[in-house]
Symmetry: C2
Subunit: 287 residues, 2 copies
């Protein structure tokens, strides 16, 4: 049994679609509604997600729901949230999101819902794929994914407990931190690796793509995420600009160190440098 009656998902992309599928599988009896901006998207939801109520009418979708999840690109969230705040909202409504950056957007969204009956509380389920769109939605996308909740001084403990329970039911491993800690953390373990995969791809292939014929698993894995959606990632990098720049400056420093060891042919120092990276990488449990 879930305490949620009815859940509204805003925008049926990879995350929204996967969320809808997973709720249907893991929370039987809970109504799932999906809002989409365009008629064709509403139609696609009806075909791909049978049993889901799809509509482009925000106030109809919001009617009586106990949980609403914003799944569109971060930059579009405040606009939709303001329209949601004008609707008739249930007393127990929690609004959350799945955005990859929290610093600016959590305070903006929180402020939008403060004067209403509803409360905003940020979520970031760290699930995704370089394959975007509803067509790639999967019912197991959240299985064992880390999910970070970002409560603030305004967050009520019962809302935190309910939202935590929601994500746990979908299969997530939960963490809690401030929006600022979140942005620092994901800059290091998500945004930096993405940027580095992009830089590796460009440095490897820009001059001559024929070298690709000799590539193996190392190139494939190291660059996988560079296949992600450019518009979405440009938005993420800009939203988390300060933390991403700090991480890239650290990467630039170690790159200079690496080049100096090669320049001076200091194989012993290079070995220690590689051993330090291996010791850190080995902290990650094997799958």
């Amino acid at each position: 049994m879930s305490v949620e009656r009815s859940i509204a998902i805003f925008s049926p992309g990879l995350l929204g679609g996967s969320l809808a599928k997973t709720i249907q599988q893991r929370m039987p009896g809970v109504e799932v509604r999906v809002w989409a901006r365009r008629d064709e998207a509403v139609e696609e939801v009806r075909q791909v997600l049978p049993g889901v109520i799809a509509s482009k009418d925000i106030s109809a979708v919001m009617q009586g729901v106990s949980l609403a999840v914003l799944c569109m690109p971060i930059q579009h969230m405040p606009d939709i949230a303001r329209q949601m705040a004008l609707c008739e909202l249930a007393e127990d409504l929690i609004v959350t999101d799945v955005g990859s950056v929290k610093g600016g957007v959590v305070s903006e969204l929180e402020a939008i819902f403060l004067p209403t009956k509803a409360a905003f509380l940020g979520s970031h389920p760290m699930a995704g794929s370089q394959r975007t769109g509803l067509a790639n939605a999967r019912g197991d996308l959240f299985h064992q994914a880390a999910c970070i909740l970002t409560p603030t001084a305004h967050t009520r403990p019962e809302h935190l407990a309910r939202l935590r329970m929601f994500w746990v039911k979908l299969g997530c491993r939960m963490q809690e931190m401030t929006p600022q800690q979140h942005d620092h953390c994901v800059a290091r373990v998500s945004h930096l690796p993405h940027a580095m995969a992009v830089l590796t791809t460009l440095a490897a292939l820009s001059k001559d793509t024929r070298v690709l014929d000799s590539s193996a698993g190392g190139f494939r894995d190291t660059t996988r995420v560079a296949g992600g959606d450019p518009a979405m990632w440009a938005g993420i990098f800009m939203q988390n600009r300060a933390e991403v720049m700090a991480a890239l400056q650290d990467a630039s420093s170690v790159l200079r160190e690496f080049l100096e060891m090669l320049e001076s042919m200091d194989e012993e120092a290079l070995r220690r440098f590689l051993a330090q990276a291996k010791a850190l990488r080995d902290l990650l449990p094997a799958v």
Copy 2:
């Protein structure tokens, strides 16, 4: 039926051990011999690879073999090759290797065997794993792996044809290029990605390893190869120093570009930059 009678493998690590297993599976009737430096390694080969003749006596191992494969770290190859060249060698012997760098080592090894009955011809099967050692040897390690042969002006066409046939039987997709082209190519698609995985790991985790709790598949894949053997990779980077430095300098330039776009908040330029990387990465066929 294979044209090879008996194949000698020098050093039973991940590659040597996997080679022995794969030959046993795919070339029935061909004798497999493994040379190891230490008594304990000889003993381990006998336990892990039943049916293989293991010894630390180079001349006994070389007696009558038609193919010998050097599988030790590159820096140790010339020393062992000089000892092999002093043995009684079969008329039709081809000596090859599995080293990741070809420029310096191919000419050195070729020169060692030029005065003998045998011929050296370089191979680089692009198979491997961050898990090293005989214990991780697999009979499918070479399946669908790219394998680069590096013939020179001294290479006889019938040797090239025989060595090509050998690797094809083990499951490899073959390419041919000069040792210099090889080193350029692998610097871009193998050594650069490895260096970038190391830099990503250090920049992400050096200051605070707790961010690892929030990591997901992107971090895991982008940094996977940073778990590789530090001594082996320090050797590879030093051997291919000039090409690796050129690739890392290109990476440094694109990193500067990335930082400038963030600095100037030019989201449109960043989107084009990411789209260019995606277009290049998408050239790699999906698995």
